[in-house]
């Protein structure tokens, strides 16, 4: 079977499942629409920035929540940032966990915060994995001589 066709189908299916399972939302489409011949790597660049930012924030969050006297304002500020950046790239499930997380910060509920941290870490690693697979498929497709339609 034609490798290009096969890869195209894999890419389409994988992308569709990301939306279908709620990992990504319409905002991600917006990013794809901003990619063109003069900005061919736009999506990868923005998403890489998101990965860097998120990893930094998750580390900061873990540290802040380990303190004897937790600075909930600081924790909230980090979650606010994470919520913002995940929403900017359309990482819907990460964004969603940030909402109860902020509520627990306001209540100064350490257990709630720790639970949310686990959840947000989990959602982040899921979406990161899936996006990395998406980019790999795109690269394979291009290498095989195909191209993927930008919506």
């Amino acid at each position: 079977m034609d490798v290009v066709v096969q890869l195209q189908r894999q890419l389409t299916d994988h992308t569709a499942s990301l939306f279908h399972e709620g990992f990504l939302n319409e905002q991600f489409n917006q990013l794809q629409q901003l990619q063109d011949e003069s900005n061919p790597d736009f999506v990868v660049e923005v998403v890489s920035l998101f990965f860097e930012d998120s990893e930094r924030l998750l580390n900061e969050l873990a540290k802040a929540l380990e303190q004897q006297a937790v600075d909930y304002k600081k924790v909230d500020a980090h979650v606010h940032q994470l919520k913002g950046s995940s929403s900017s790239i359309g990482a819907q499930r990460v964004q969603a966990v940030c909402i109860p997380f902020r509520n627990f910060c306001e209540e100064q509920n350490i257990e709630g915060c720790l639970k949310c941290l686990q959840q947000v870490k989990h959602e982040y690693s899921l979406v990161k994995n899936k996006l990395e697979t998406l980019f790999k498929l795109e690269q394979q497709l291009i290498a095989a001589g195909g191209s993927f339609p930008t919506l």
Binding site: Q27, L31, L34, V46, D53, H80, K83, G84, S87, S88
Partner: protein, 125 residues
Amino acid sequence: MLEPPTKITALVVDDDTINQMIHHRLLDNLGIRNQVVRNGKEAIDVHCSGKNFDLILMDMEMPVMNGIEATRKLRAMGIRSMIAGVSTNTRERENFMKAGLDDYQEKPLTTSKLVSILHKVHKDG
């Protein structure tokens, strides 16, 4: 998909690098020459250096000087540019508008939100 370059210029004021990148690209894509600064103080400084813009996209929560204060200061300086607040903080929306905004959009910005802002930019600029 590229619009012919317009004469409209814009300033992006946002501390978040992801938003900076997206807003810059959104504007570029519409043929709008734009500059990016990281907080309200830098927005003031760039105006003090003599630059002027048709449109300012102002984030609200920023370090050093936030969007509400920056908007107030710019208006006090006599800046009549269109200032569109871009934020997620609905609680502060009214205060933000009162500071002197012409428009307010919820983040994340999209092409269509930006187009609706641009329709309000006065054409005789």
